[in-house]
Symmetry: C2
Subunit: 229 residues, 2 copies
């Protein structure tokens, strides 16, 4: 799949880029500054070899032609970032929004959640993309540290919330293609109001237990992913 | 341990009563109507044998002498129930509040959450108990069906939120004493704002995948429970 990662030079975005490249996808790393994207491309090749299909560019250029656009940026920067990429987004693209609304956006604590007026960051994102572009909220329960540590399998499920079932399934297939990663259909986009604050919960648990990789697995069924139709 | 279960004739409360009795605790099943509590006592003895130490009574009578008072009632009834037991609660008791604020309280859907003014049902509970009684919010991710099916081990973690660390640890020990159950320290009582809506998330997942036992396991550490001091 062709994937763009907006904010792909950050720890979470770059970790996800490495995982997706390792699974054989074409990844374009986006950044506000083209030089930082080029640096991330060099680091990705250093980690995985020259054969991986990775490119870099400014965020708005990076999203062109991608089937899935992943947005991993801090909540405080999300509106500016979405406004910068919106003119470049094309109908039919799916946006995987991984933004977690945390009090750190306003100088507070990262283990305290904040409630956006729209209900969730995913719904803020949906208000900022053009018609025909679908937002899938997810990935809030997967830590940057766990993503970056390529020697370890991921142990946390991606809870995906979206109103567009096709877009949700496309993003789900992308996630399932990475070893150790699973996705769970967590309902409509509005359910991001429930899943996004889980980032604050995991940070709380990581701090309390002095671990770095706390996460969630959904139990009750051996496999999740796409629903049988 | 001496445990009272207010709302212990409901499916979740009764399932928990059976699990705690099976682990050797003394359980008093509370109900608004004494006859229904007596009926639940008879059903518990039928399921587990006459040797289990189970009694029943009206809610306010049931809480007397208990170390842990578990409250498993629908959100729509919680204020009336707390007002009825508050005069009987004694300083030093811990209340495990399992209330999930759901739209079903006002005729809506059980897979949509509702936001209490206080922040969470746990914080509503804290506003209704006497000084010296500590509220621990938890158990929102453990389904009534899974609790009642005694042939199966529970696969979901109890995320406990409380400001009183001693009360949280006492409730945690109670949970750990039941085979297959684990507790995780999920931070202060205000974090119930994050954990309570997970009930709506699990109901969403159960409905989508046509399962009855969806739950959460926390990953990243082999054992959770009490923090090392």
């Amino acid at each position: 799949m062709d994937v763009a990662i907006v904010g792909g030079t950050g720890k979470e975005g770059f970790g996800l880029a490495l995982r997706l490249l390792g699974a054989g996808h074409r990844v374009t790393i986006g950044s506000r500054v083209a030089e930082r994207a080029a640096d991330a491309v060099a680091r990705a090749k250093e980690a995985l070899g020259d054969d991986v299909r990775v490119e870099g560019g400014e965020n708005a250029a990076a999203v062109l032609g991608a089937q899935v656009v992943v947005v991993t940026v801090p909540f405080a920067g999300m509106i500016e970032i979405y406004e910068s990429i919106a003119p470049a987004l094309q109908s039919g693209q799916a946006v995987l929004d991984a933004t977690s609304p945390l009090m750190s956006a306003v100088g507070g604590k990262a283990w305290e959640a904040i409630g956006p007026w729209h209900g969730s960051a995913g719904e803020v994102a949906a208000s900022l993309v053009p018609d025909g572009v679908s937002v899938v909220a997810g990935f809030h329960t997967i830590g940057a540290h766990a993503l970056s540590d390529l020697d370890r399998e991921l142990e946390s499920d991606a809870l995906l919330c979206a109103d567009d079932e096709d877009a949700k399934r496309m993003v789900g297939e992308l996630i399932d293609s990475v070893p150790g990663m699973r996705w769970v259909d967590a309902g409509p986009l509005a359910n991001a109001r429930i899943t996004e604050p889980l980032t604050a919960m995991i940070i709380t648990i990581n701090r309390r237990y002095k671990v770095r990789d706390g996460g969630f697995r959904i139990t009750g069924r051996d496999s999740w992913g796409a629903l049988e139709s």
